[in-house]
Amino acid sequence: MTAATYSDGSEPFEFRMLFYDKRYRSITLQIITIVLFMLAVAWLVDNVVQNFRDLGKDFSFGFLFQPASYDINQTLIEYTSRSPHWKAAVVGILNTLLIAFLGCIAATIVGVLIGVARLSQNWLVSRFMTVYIEGFRNVPVLLWILLMSTIFATALPSPRQAPQLLGGALVPTNRGFYLPAFEWGAGSLPLVIIFLLSIVAIIVFRRWARTRQQETGEILPVFWISLALFFLPSLIAFFLLGRPIGLEFAELKGFNYQGGLYVRNSFMALWLALSLYTAAFIAENVRAGIQAISKGQTEASYSLGLPPSRTMNLVILPQALRIIIPPLISQYLNLTKNSSLAIAVGYMDITGTLGGITLNQTGREMECLLLVMGFYLIVSLLISGVMNVYNSAVALKER
């Protein structure tokens, strides 16, 4: 075509160079894009302004300071129906974070166990785990959540007939689960401090043991000493201080249980379903991570004379973790976002309070949904920020 002539940048500027000359073309395209984008945004905003004017609405966050006038069944902070809407939102946020945090822990534990078991030499075990993984992965999580909640609500016995499992430590009823609660007596503060100090001691000790090993080559039984440091000081202090921390069990009084820690069925169903569902994905990540480490690494480690446990700890795991952790964190992110399905079982998370009842009561869809989305965006960006820091920390250092 005519455009295929060589130019040294000295010829006079012509209009058609905006489209044919590589130097200007990208700028032209970007300007066109910006103009189209701005036009689209202006059109949308104009529509919103027009629609708001027609409906006599305004855009303000003032409603957040009016009384919410609805109750929330599970609150981590003090909240009554007279509290303002923003407090209801905070209750929702804390509930979201609670389910996400506990869900991530449970999903990691179950997922790692299943992922490792999937690689078992035992045919029966590995097949069983495959069935678990495929079964959970291929069925929508919403179905799991609803199924769990239905089972808990209808198949569990009423409080009067409920079995007391583990010596009364776990009582499943159709109203919820009763667990023992901590009783903080006098002298529990020193005990907690001692416990925290022993954890600091473990970290310090492990550092010291490592430098010592690097200097002298002597290997200490780090695991057993850490274990002892973890339990012994706290246990000794526990009995010396006269058992300041006790467990309060739930007791059957009349038709219902009193005391202890009451966990609602909605929470339990959501937590179990999310954990088991996400665990199936984590298991696949773990399996893929371990399988990605070539067999040569194990053999090289053996030929260096390292025993199997050290091979796992020093050679395989550090490499496998580099592969496992990024998808693991994105699974955490998925779990956090999936926790918004709480609305299906009536667990009051941020979507249920701010994006649900507050939205319906005040009719401020725009403001409420902006805040809810903003919250999830911040959480996602924080988590992916953490992931990026981790990735750059463990990335292969190549010359």
Partner: protein, 435 residues
Amino acid sequence: MSDTHSQANQSIHYVAQSMLPEQPAPLSTSGPVAWMRENLFANWRDTILTVIFGAAILAIIVNLLPWLFLDAVFYADDIRQCRELGEGACFAVVTSRFDQLIFGFYPGHLYWRPILTFVLMLLAFAPVLHDNLPRKLLWFTAVFPLLAYWLLWGGSIWGPILIVAMVAVCFVVFRLLVTAINPTLSALATFVVAVAWLMFVQGPWTDGLSAIANVGLEPVESAKFGGFLITFVIGVTGIVGSLPLGILLALGRKSDMPVVKMICVGFIEFIRGVPLITLLFVASTLLNYFLPPGTSFDLILRVLIMVTLFASAYMAEVIRGGLAALPRGQYEAADALGLNYWQGTQLIILPQALKISIPGIVNTFIGLFKDTTLVSIVGILDPIGIMQPIRSTSEWNGIIWELPIFIGLVFFVACFVMSRYSMYFERKLDTGHRS
């Protein structure tokens, strides 16, 4: 040699005259016994695990099998009759409400339309999934979305035909202009033509042509859609729509142009950062604010748009991974051959990048298909949305397991087939050399 041997053998009697027949390998190294020794009872730890898991599996089977099959009731009028007829599961709820679970409230005498659409869908997907079918079938694939829309929603046939006409006109305009002026300007012009057609031609001409010759099907409104019909409508639309959008977004994110890149990154990160359910809330409560006053289109269409946008952001990230995995030399080779951006992308970059990202793409499809269940929360009667009303009717009050088992099974089969197909596809495309 053989001669001397035979002569020697006659005289030496302790040398065997004939070969011994082949013996089967000892039982301990082959056959089921050896397999069990190797895979089930390799050492004492394995043995314990086998016993524990074997007992657990046996217990599950023994307890579940009678309930699930032997004592199950498949035909009954309500749950009380069910309980009288058998101890086991009451699958009668599935059989008696089967139509609702599959079609929702779609008019009964029109069931042939969704069924025909489903069959045609398989036909439309066939040339995409199997490359040894005649390529001409792809034309049917291209027309299928409009055909499906017309079959499912009914109405005048002139609307879809005019859309086909619009695509043809746009194609002609683009072809004429691309040689006369340049690609960028002609793309813009084509876009303008399409918008003008939709705004000024589509509506009036449809009405006009319908007035002349009223050819069409009985219209069915969206509110009547439900059950797995809606799952498939949303899932398939999302899958088909999100792939091209995702490719464009991924290319935009890799673009050298900062503005394009910023817009794409902003869109992708926003969509991926929020849960689908909040986007569905936006679709159900907020989307009308963003449209000119007076326009309102039905919930299912709004949900379709949101789901497609949602999936396209995830798709973009998967494809970006594939683009990033290509060695730099491929991009440079495309430049060195003198190909322009679109030629290089179409002929060299995308075929390789898409191949690398097949597992991720199919995973996104599976995720999208499962996520369609979320529409039940904004009041669309997909299988899960229809499950609760059925359970609360007086006939079936008290049913727990049967409906989730049936719905879960359908989802399981669909998702499992998709994931197996991706594995097969991956193997087929594997050229044997990595990167």
